[in-house]
């Protein structure tokens, strides 16, 4: 988790407010002693929320998360106010990770490395994290998320333009193709993740060979296609996802 830590071995003092519980525990201007069960449950809940969100995404219920954390539902509601608030926190956390990743990629000196680090990096982050995939697909109408999104786009544009200027892109490729390509790798993970977690690499490699300049040599494909039984398993698992 990259969110504020409230692990507290000693009884700690409550900061102004904790992102998720805004307006709930805040009582007085004066600092207050926080009970250690509160701190413990907060940490448990944050960890559980992160895990559950990773594997079930926004469909998870607060009941799920509470059970996962080993606490009662009411405790979850005492910490998160409602499901929207929790979702917003998780979404924000995920988007910030993406932002961070992109800034790192943008900082690489070589335009091609920068471009590939960007595309591979984001695809990798979302591949094992259903919540991350959902963040990339929609902002769920959460303002804070849209706000971070605003900061993401210029970086993407800069990376793509730098790659184009270096002559490594197929000329028709546009910045808006990137979200669609990432959407496709995410779809691969939705479908085949359970049977072959890295399968997205195969298809991203394939697509990159169509996206990069024709003069560049083809890349080697590192991940094998699904075999027959994997394909059938993926297909059978699918309809439980609705």
């Amino acid at each position: 988790m990259s969110t504020d830590q409230v692990v507290a071995g000693e009884t700690a003092t409550v900061p102004g407010d904790v992102a998720y519980a805004a307006g709930m525990t805040a009582t007085d201007p004066a600092s207050r002693v926080v009970r250690k069960d509160v701190a413990r449950n907060q940490a448990l809940l944050l960890a559980a929320a992160d895990e559950v969100f990773t594997e079930r995404g926004a469909d998870a219920t607060l009941d799920d998360i509470a059970r996962h954390a080993g606490v009662g539902v009411a405790t979850a509601y005492r910490h998160f106010e409602n499901k929207q608030a929790l979702l917003a926190a998780m979404f924000e956390d995920r988007l910030n990770k993406i932002l961070q990743m992109m800034e790192d990629a943008d900082a690489l000196p070589d335009p091609r490395e920068s471009f590939e680090a960007f595309v591979y990096g984001v695809a990798a982050m979302q591949s094992h994290d259903r919540g991350m995939r959902e963040v990339m697909r929609t902002d769920h109408g959460i303002d804070k998320v849209s706000a971070i999104r605003q900061r993401v786009q210029p970086i993407a544009i800069r990376i793509v333009e730098r790659a184009r200027a270096a002559g490594i892109l197929r000329p028709e490729l546009e910045t808006n193709d990137i979200p669609m390509v990432l959407w496709m790798t995410g779809a691969i993970s939705d479908y085949a993740g359970p049977v072959s977690p890295d399968l997205w690499r195969r298809y991203l490699d394939l697509m990159l060979d169509g996206m990069l300049a024709e003069s560049l040599p083809r890349r080697t494909i590192s991940v094998p296609a699904l075999d027959q039984s994997q394909l059938e398993t993926a297909m059978h698992n699918w309809h439980s996802h609705r």
Copy 2:
């Protein structure tokens, strides 16, 4: 609709059974006169089911379909027994269309034309039809559908092998890559279909340039990327899909 027609201007006789209502109207060995309101409603329901399934897929309720057909729910249940039966009929219909298409593609003499007709053809069929996409993704545990699926696969293998023998495929490409590629174009339609119904072609072109032999010239990309506002609309529409 490619399903049995029961349009009947004259009062007709009931055949052994109609696929969907199997075991419901069948009474005696002797033929029986069918009332014209029954025939009319049957036709209305089939048409409505097809339409609704095309745009909402398996999520549609029988209530939806009945309303769409302008009849009461009970009438729908008199014709279809239950939702499973209707779904099975629609799925079967869709898969048969795919089978037909593939046989046509297989019959083309040129291996490359055959391969491209196959991939483009299936992608096109599913692009404007959510029900079709669902059929391709899972058999929903319906036996009849699995049965047709068994007949589809050898044709796909034959087309791909013929293309490979003709040297037009990238050597690493396998038959099992095809469902994944079609899954990806379907995902594009899921996301962007409402704002740009043909966008899948752009990404299929891109992928084909990575899937075909390196020696072949790149294809021209016929469909433009989404512009900013289309991308935003697609993103905003998405979360209603869940």
